[in-house]
């Protein structure tokens, strides 16, 4: 069964590390849904959040291959773990007509979306939250007419660590 998995990859902050990861995935025939990488509190360490679809076996193989990269310190599949805070960020541009503006603003308030710009024929706003919340928001504002949006892709942090077999790079 194809399923979406979010992998958190901790790597050394070396040059070309993103290319290594995306190259590896395309070389082995896997499609990346989203990838986002940024430095961490430790300047030598970089964290990458990757969303891929695949069967259980595919994901296991991807995880192992990613682990095999010399620069990879750890790969964690957080898909079925509840101790992770997963967030996403979105900027949307919507056509909001004069007459349904107040409805719309209410909706935005409920979602705690932040208005960036309000013009005669459009509204731009931003929203951060769980990927589910973002999906839901898109669904809800759809009828107002979405002109454009951009999502950051998922990123995540462990609330607390549960050391588990399989998180270990070389674990069998």
């Amino acid at each position: 069964m194809l399923e979406k998995h979010t992998l958190i990859i901790t790597v050394l902050n070396s040059s070309g590390v993103l290319a290594r990861i995306s190259g590896l995935l395309s070389q082995r025939g896997y499609n990346i849904e989203s990838v986002i990488g940024a430095p961490t509190e430790n300047p030598n360490i970089y964290k990458i959040s990757l969303v891929v679809s695949g069967t259980e076996e595919h994901i296991e193989q991807i995880t192992k291959q990613l682990n095999k990269l010399i620069d990879t310190i750890r790969v964690t599949d957080i898909s079925h773990k509840d101790n992770y805070i997963v967030r996403e960020y979105i900027i949307l541009k919507l056509e909001v007509k004069e007459k349904n503006r107040s409805d719309f603003f209410n909706l935005a308030r409920v979602f705690k979306a932040n208005l960036i710009d309000v013009a005669m024929d459009h509204v731009i706003l931003e929203l951060a939250g769980s990927p589910r919340k973002i999906d839901r928001f898109i669904e809800m504002v759809h009828s107002y007419g979405i002109q454009e949006y951009i999502r950051s892709g998922e990123f995540a942090m462990a609330e607390y660590q549960t050391p588990k077999k399989g998180d270990n790079k070389n674990g069998d």
Binding site: S15, G16, Q61, N67, K68, L69, D71, N170, G171, D172
Partner: protein, 577 residues
């Protein structure tokens, strides 16, 4: 100290005694530093592909890291096939390439190619050294990565300004800090116990060994294990030599061109213990049909190999030698059983066979069996790719590890001659014999000159069928004999849709390989009939320097046994007569 001098010093500290390579603009500073360097031999090949395969042959025959040094741009791109070949067969080489100055990178400068980008999917790791301060650390890491864990090629790209710049103080690092790279050597004790128990319970256990046994140097432990357990054993192409060919438990190579006994044993066993083998599709056929009656145990140093191609019930991540040692303590001894009798029976019933030749044309298998009689028992045998490779795998006597070198995973034609050259340099005093087809010899034939000039005594055996034989065999068996572009004699006077040798075939093979050998400063001999074979071999092997022996073999001889592509291992074509 200059970057170039640091590089040379670092190579010496890594124990490098030989570099294979080719100069050019971007590496002149390094070559200048080499000019008066003592203690490192530089072998100037005639092509960078030759240099890479030679470094690979050096590595495979010794287990040490082979080193290759080339210029930027075309020099670098010429190493690509060699790097990919080493990667597929897990051979430890370090390829150092020059690069345009850092300030020019990204400007499409003269002889600029993105070596890091090019090699990323075909090497174990790669580096672009951006400043001279980082150079010593990179060299240290590169050699460590190449030889440790699952060995493999590492590419180091060095811009010319880096080798030209100076540092006041240079220290070669003692330690390596690679938090993301820690190969597991010791196997998990629980899994090893589980495996030992599975062996006790199994009625029909089988060992399936591969190149990992050789990489790990695990032959002594393996032989002890066989002694204690009496388990029959089959080997991959890359595992040949890990057990002596005449070991009573050895059933031979398995897979597409494997022996009947080996393939039958895999199909029937109830416990398959893979050690340092990677379930390649040339071995398994359709995966769901492979060892479908067996529990699968897999010992491998690379966790990503376990479960990649077949489902594994008992995974053990670790070094083969180390794991075998622990397993040996845990496993109960086992007596020979009906299962051994059964595998012995298959072995006796289905020996390798080939049709004895008529007077004119020579049977290639006969040449190889004659070689068995006259070759030094310690010799290193190197093959090219194609029928010659399979015949050598099947018919030659493999006695020791690291004595049979062949391109298995990439199947690179042109590998044989330069790899043999590298092996001969690494093993002075040891006979090196290269078995090659008439197609493959022409793919790196420029290295004949390298052999002659440097007195590298490679004994080249060309099995000339004037065909790209392995492809022709497939066309014969599976493509209705439509011999499309596989005849190396086909010219404008030939029928375009030729279906095999005819009376009006061209009489002369071009090039005349004996003359090519002579033009390159070595002796050349040719045998046209079976009767001339033993003498030609004797004369050739007695030569002090390099020599080329050409054997005109039966043009349409096939490699058997053979399992058709896509068919299970039970579907074996045993061959003629």
């Amino acid at each position: 100290m200059k970057g170039a001098e640091i590089l040379i010093d670092a190579l010496k500290r890594e124990g490098v005694d030989t570099i294979f390579g080719y100069p050019g603009g971007a590496v002149i500073p390094i070559f200048d530093a080499l000019y008066s360097t003592k203690g490192i031999r530089f072998l100037l090949t005639r092509h960078e592909q030759g240099a890479t395969h030679a470094a690979d042959g050096y590595a495979r025959s010794t287990g040490k890291v082979g080193v290759c040094m080339v210029t930027s741009g075309p020099g670098a791109t010429n190493t690509i096939t060699g790097i990919a070949t080493a990667k597929m067969d897990s051979s430890p080489i370090v390829v150092i390439s020059g690069q345009v100055p850092t300030s020019n990178i990204g400007t499409d400068a003269f002889q600029e190619t993105d070596m890091v980008g090019l090699t990323r999917p075909i090497c174990k790791h790669n580096y672009l050294v951006k400043d001279v301060a980082g150079l010593p650390g990179v060299i240290k890491e590169a050699f460590y990565i190449a030889r440790s864990g699952r060995p493999g090629p590492v590419s180091i790209d060095i811009p010319s300004d880096v080798v030209n710049s100076k540092v006041k103080e240079y220290v070669y690092p003692d330690n390596i800090l690679l938090p993301g790279y820690k190969p597991v050597v010791k196997g998990n004790a629980g899994q090893i116990k589980k495996l030992a128990a599975a062996i006790s319970q199994s009625k029909k256990p089988l060992l399936y060994i591969g190149g990992g046994i050789i990489a790990s140097g695990a032959t002594p432990e393996l032989l002890d294990f066989l002694e204690k357990t009496q388990i029959p054993v089959v080997a991959t192409l890359m595992g040949l030599g890990a057990v002596p060919f005449d070991h009573p438990n050895f059933l031979g190579m398995l897979g597409m061109h494997g022996l009947v006994a080996a393939n039958k044993a895999v199909t029937e066993c109830d416990l398959l213990i893979a050690i340092g083998a990677r379930f390649d599709d040339r071995v398994t056929g359709p995966r769901d049909t492979f060892a479908s009656n067996a529990t699968i145990a897999h010992i491998d140093i690379d966790p990503a190999e376990i479960g990649k191609n077949v489902k594994t019930q008992i995974p053990v991540v670790g070094d083969a030698k180390n794991v075998l040692k622990s397993l040996l303590e845990k496993v109960k001894s086992r007596e020979r059983s009906f299962w051994n009798e059964r595998t012995d029976y298959w072995k006796a019933k289905y020996p390798l066979r080939f049709a004895e030749s008529d007077e004119d044309a020579i049977s290639p298998q006969y040449v190889l069996e004659e070689i068995n009689k006259v070759i030094d028992p310690n010799a290193i045998l190197v093959t090219d790719v194609g029928q010659n490779q399979m015949w050598a795998a099947l018919h030659c006597h493999h006695r020791q590890p690291r004595k049979f070198l062949t391109s298995g995973g990439l199947g690179t034609m042109g590998f044989g001659l330069p790899a043999a050259m590298g092996a001969a340099i690494a093993n002075p005093g040891i006979q090196v014999v290269c078995i090659v087809g008439d197609g493959g010899i022409q793919m790196n034939i420029q290295e004949l000159a390298t052999c002659s000039i440097n007195r590298i005594p490679v004994k080249i055996v060309v099995l000339n069928n004037a065909y790209l034989g392995m492809v022709r065999q497939w066309q014969e068996l599976f493509w209705k004999k439509r011999y499309s572009r596989v005849c190396l004699m086909q010219g404008p006077d030939c029928p375009e849709e030729c279906q095999g040798p005819r009376d009006d075939c061209p009489k002369i093979y071009i090039p005349d390989l004996v003359k090519v050998a002579e033009a390159n400063g070595m002796r050349g001999f040719r045998a046209n009939t079976q009767a001339e074979v033993p003498n030609t071999l004797r004369k050739g092997l007695a030569e002090e320097g390099p020599v080329l022996m050409e054997f005109s073999i039966k043009r349409e001889e096939n490699v058997f046994p053979m399992v058709s592509a896509g068919k299970p291992l039970t579907d074996i074509i045993i061959g003629e007569k």
